[in-house]
Symmetry: C2
Subunit: 361 residues, 2 copies
């Protein structure tokens, strides 16, 4: 029970990060509160309003409806749930590029909707033609991803929104990871850029809040009302969240992180991470590995499986894409020094692999 | 943003409480970890195994399957989901006494199962005859409550289990709140007492862990496997939880609280809370209010609405049952002094109500 949480100095695979000091402090102060019971815990409930309002600023939605969810999975499930409730069809479908997060598979399974997974284009982005030929009258929602999990790609959000509008479906954008870097890029991804109905954007990823602090936003409170369930014994009257009791730590730290970092801190962080990603991509390319261009701070590269395993054995927390590429997420805790040390380990492995080994100690 | 979280000295309505110091310390240490990604965060993942194992001890299940959920709502949703996956029927139903938590309404809505809510007996417990006449071939699950939200009642768990067995349904016990007091009572409620398939038991309630730390237990890992979804980009291969990223703080604090308090600390806490509940019940009865006998540390009493509102105006965080009774949960943070102060405020209100008021300042 006295085990130490491992340090972050070798974590390259996570979309979570060390909370910002202000976020950690807020989390610790509000550890014993429950925003799921606003009648009993009004202060944290007010902080949640602040957090949602800041998320609205970031995503260009002046009067946001939404809440701080347990994470992107909950937010995505809830978005699909809204679409299902809105659908006329008894067997509604959700159309998503194959780059969409596996939480939509979970959502489809739980909610009993059909998930239509559509191949992406050569750059791992939603293929508009393929999406267009997958939608039909039963389509309740189209999903666009703004910052994919595997390659950090941004789908053509406005064009996807148009397809959704044409077919009478809701349009959901999953910016769980990308939402805190995209404001500093030229991508079109916000509520102002496209007819987006709901969005996932997680403060506990690049937003540097403490887990659990996902975010669900909706263009109107009517959309959120689709989720409401009566709460007989609480002084509030209904609840739109998936959980009942919720973490005040997550909510308070989300509000504190965004208050502290939006926009200047996040902007600086984005530029630093993006430079790191470019540096790593170049370092890997130089060594002859095939690298997927890091258009956002996420690098994928094809390494031999044995090399990957050897790096993991050295303590590096790395993960792979579905097709087996190394995947390094340049989160706020990932420094140039870490990446240099990672590449140095890689170089040592390659030397060992190419030189006959006499002694192995 | 500098708002203070309110103190707990007037919180009588919550089923959450101040985390035990050991739980708080563990939560703060593991704030930046994610048990939803065990390949990256192995230490917290091992702590989760410890937590599940301790929950198994408490509920008399030697080889427990399960996980630390975001709360009782998630655990209940997941239990219903297991039952739905196991059901032969296309339109399965869940049969539950009306004392069941509203999260089952949420579960039914999300999962598309029919929820059959059955009236309770005169003591607010599941009515076996009524349950029996509500089940049929399409019944996928019967829910029993071990410590109801409104009155702290324990359903006849073994008898409900027999009904479930007879009809071929799974049997779920919701001990979200009761699970950490029941081991010290004579009630039959554990996996050893009855053919229970799944159970909800929340460390973040009477278990004194930090939110979010609910608990889902299953008699076998095969039951849990019904929830598994593939996780393409994580080093683990599948995920049975409803959330993806999860709070290491909740998991670590659950393990720490149970390590510290099970069984001695919880036993002492139960006796103290139960004495407090009995004291409050007697104090209210003496003053002429109708009181529901607190068989567990939860007191319900019929107060005039105006009195209830006046107490809330004085800062007391209290809530009501569906029929409007005052509801006080004697959680670990609730002391005799708090209750005495509450009763003194009640007395002052009653004096004011019965004496003509000349000046109101």
């Amino acid at each position: 029970m006295q085990a130490e949480p491992q340090a972050f100095d070798r974590v390259l695979s996570s979309m979570c990060t060390e909370p910002h000091p202000a976020a950690r402090k807020a989390a610790e102060r509000f550890l014993a509160t429950n925003p799921g019971d606003p009648g009993t815990y009004p202060t944290i409930s007010a902080l949640e309003d602040d957090a949602v309002s800041l998320l609205g600023e970031i995503t260009e939605l002046p009067e946001p409806a939404g809440y701080v969810a347990s994470g992107g999975t909950e937010a995505n499930i809830q978005a699909v749930r809204i679409a299902r409730e809105r659908a006329d069809s008894r067997r509604p479908n959700v159309v998503m590029p194959e780059s969409g997060h596996f939480s939509f598979q979970k959502a489809a399974d739980i909610l009993g909707v059909e998930l239509r997974i559509v191949p992406t284009d050569d750059d791992h982005r939603a293929d508009l033609e393929a999406i267009n030929s997958s939608v039909d009258d039963e389509t309740a929602m189209i999903v666009g991803v703004a910052g994919t999990t595997e390659y950090g790609r941004v789908d053509p959000i406005p064009a996807l929104g148009e397809i959704a509008k044409d077919v009478g479906a809701l349009f959901h954008v999953d910016a769980a990871w990308g939402g805190f870097v995209l404001p500093f890029t030229d991508y079109e991804w916000t509520f102002a850029d496209a007819p987006i109905d709901t969005m996932t954007i997680d403060p506990h990823k690049v937003g540097q809040a403490a887990v659990p602090a996902g975010g669900l936003l909706a263009r109107s409170s009517e959309l959120l009302d689709e989720l409401a369930v009566d709460t007989p014994y609480l002084e509030s009257t209904s609840q739109a969240t998936l959980s009942g009791t919720r973490s005040g730590a997550g909510v308070a730290s989300a509000a504190a992180a965004m208050e502290t970092l939006w926009p200047t801190g996040y902007r600086e962080e984005y530029h630093r991470s993006q430079r790191n990603a470019a540096w790593l991509a170049e370092a890997l390319e130089k060594r002859g590995y095939e690298v997927v261009d890091p258009t956002l701070p996420l690098v994928a590269a094809r390494l031999p499986r044995s090399t990957f395993d050897a790096l993991r054995a050295k303590g590096w927390r790395i993960s792979r894409t579905a097709t087996g590429e190394l995947r390094v997420v340049c989160m706020p805790h990932v420094t140039r020094e870490m990446l240099a040390s990672f590449v140095a380990d890689l170089d040592r492995l390659e030397v060992r692999a190419s030189v006959p080994v006499v002694s192995d100690d």
